[in-house]
Amino acid sequence: MFFEQLLNGLVVGSMYALIALGFSLVFGVLNKLNFAHPELFMLSGFLTIAMVALGIPLAIAAVLVCVVIGVAGLAVELVSFRKFAGKDGHITAALSSLAVGLVLIDGAQKYWGTEPISMPGASTLRIASVSAWGISISWLKIGTLIFTLVLMVVLHHMITRTRFGRNIRATADSPDAARLLGIDVKRVNQYTFLMASVLAAIAGIMLLLRTGYATTDVGFSLGLKALAILAIGGMGELRGAVLGGLLVGVLESMAFHFGLGRLSDVVVWILMIGVLLIRPAGLFGGGGIHKETRA
């Protein structure tokens, strides 16, 4: 039972990690928070259901949803972030993306209602499981976990080993310096949003597969937690987002296991406050001049 909860924690944590990664990517490169991000995560579940209901095979629907959500992410960049590029634009961009998020939630609630919508055929996917060492683990959960880990390894490779990744890192370090090096910062920003949105879409599809339904409030609740994970792991630190996400997922699962119920949600915030008190830069926060300058 305990091991099962642990595994559950890892699975949920990997979903948190995917969402947090999206936040972290945008924050790392543009130094701004994108509050519309969690709503893209929310929408991807609904879009998948809609496509499957139209008769499109699940696998193809998943890919299509990633494309659509990716494009949506580019739209968000255009509306809420392109104009507010400077240092003073942090708050404005964040608020604008927040407002976009509101519009997306409201729209989704109007169109699909506030009750959960289930996906036809979802139940058959969930039942398939494997028994080992006295526990029954669904293939889906294992698959989700493995897929997420593979995805992160690919992402890591892309960021650290390819020229594309190098451009991203240079822009994250200093957009001005990157421009001087001939990097097209506008393109880099767009690609960052594209990647972050696709990650959100994947997370949303995974949630849909795991639970079998989509709800409109999931973006809010999970998105906000992802923000906390961002602070825990270190703003803009990709490893921090991943490990932070997994950690929080496991801790929450443990809290639930020990009967905390609703209060398990509070775990992530307490952890965040703790990290801010002891190590404000986050668990993986870099050192250097940034850490020094107060305010």
Binding site: V79, S80, S96, I105, L227, A228, W269, R294
Partner: protein
């Protein structure tokens, strides 16, 4: 306009001001809905369970909320602004879960029996808070707040204890939100944790963004508009979220400081003729 309209407009003005007070020192708070909840439940417990009069319970709840706000926000107020935003989001997110898990105050089902709010209570509070903001805007304190808001490092280099200033304003904002919450609760008779979702906190901030972030009237405009607009435009209340969100996105693109964007100059000098030495 029914008395309900007046009451809610007045409460929203107070809430918008509560966030504005915090914004004056350069911090953005997404927790004011939670402070409202603390005020509501705090004063509710004092009136319902301890039999205190509403006008005694309100200040007590407000002070308690202010102290709580200061304690929780202090670590974040010492560092970058983004951390305060996250902490306030955290407060707002956690509070509902905590309230729902506390049987003493009714858990998910909430509390009832909260009565006693009169329109004049709200009117007096609006006048008091408005008067305080008016006074500040004409005093040297406004300049100090502007300095902290615009460039905190430079403010510190002048001897301003910026953390102290930010904490005081944060607590003051929390106190105002708490009192508004208490008055709201004792008007509605019932309060439930779901009334104080994080969405409330977000809306409060957006009132200021729409109305104007640089002076005390902007929040008023934003609060009044967003409270009354759904009444005026039939069907707008249904689409409140989309309408509001779209308005904010547009406003930020066109006029980022909000509608009433002007800044009130705190002092002006008669220009001295160039050849005369001023008396010192």
């Amino acid at each position: 306009m029914t008395s309900d309209h007046i009451i809610f407009t007045g409460l929203n003005i107070l809430l918008a001001w509560s966030a504005y007070v915090i914004l004056m020192s350069g911090s953005l708070s997404f927790a004011n809905g939670a402070f409202m909840a603390l005020g509501a439940y705090g004063s509710g417990v004092l009136t319902v369970k301890f039999g205190l009069h509403l006008l005694v319970a309100l200040p007590i709840a407000a002070v308690g909320t202010a102290v709580f706000a200061a304690l929780v926000a202090l670590p974040a107020l010492r560092t970058r602004g983004v951390y305060l935003i996250l902490v306030t989001i955290g407060i707002a997110s956690c509070l509902r879960a905590v309230l729902e898990s506390t049987p003493y105050i009714g858990g998910v089902r909430g509390m009832s029996g909260l009565m006693g709010t009169q329109i004049w209570h709200i009117a007096v509070l609006v006048v008091l808070v408005g008067g305080m903001l008016w006074w500040i805007s004409r005093s040297p304190l406004q300049r100090i707040l502007d300095a902290v808001r615009e460039d905190e490092s430079v403010a510190r280099s002048m001897g301003i204890h910026t953390v102290y200033v930010k904490t005081i304003m944060f607590s003051a904002g929390a106190a105002i939100a708490a009192m508004a919450g208490g008055l709201y609760a004792h008007h509605m008779v019932f309060v439930r944790p779901e009334n104080f979702d994080i969405l409330v906190s977000i809306y409060i901030v957006l009132y200021i963004i729409l109305g104007g972030t640089n002076n005390m009237w902007g929040p008023v405009l934003g609060a009044v508009t967003m409270t009354l607009l759904p009444e005026v435009l039939r069907g707008a209340s249904e689409w409140r979220g989309t309408l509001f969100g779209a308005m904010v996105v547009l406003m930020l693109l066109i006029r980022p400081d909000g509608l009433l964007a002007f800044r009130i100059q705190s002092i002006s000098a008669r220009v001295m003729p160039p050849n005369r030495e001023p008396q010192s």
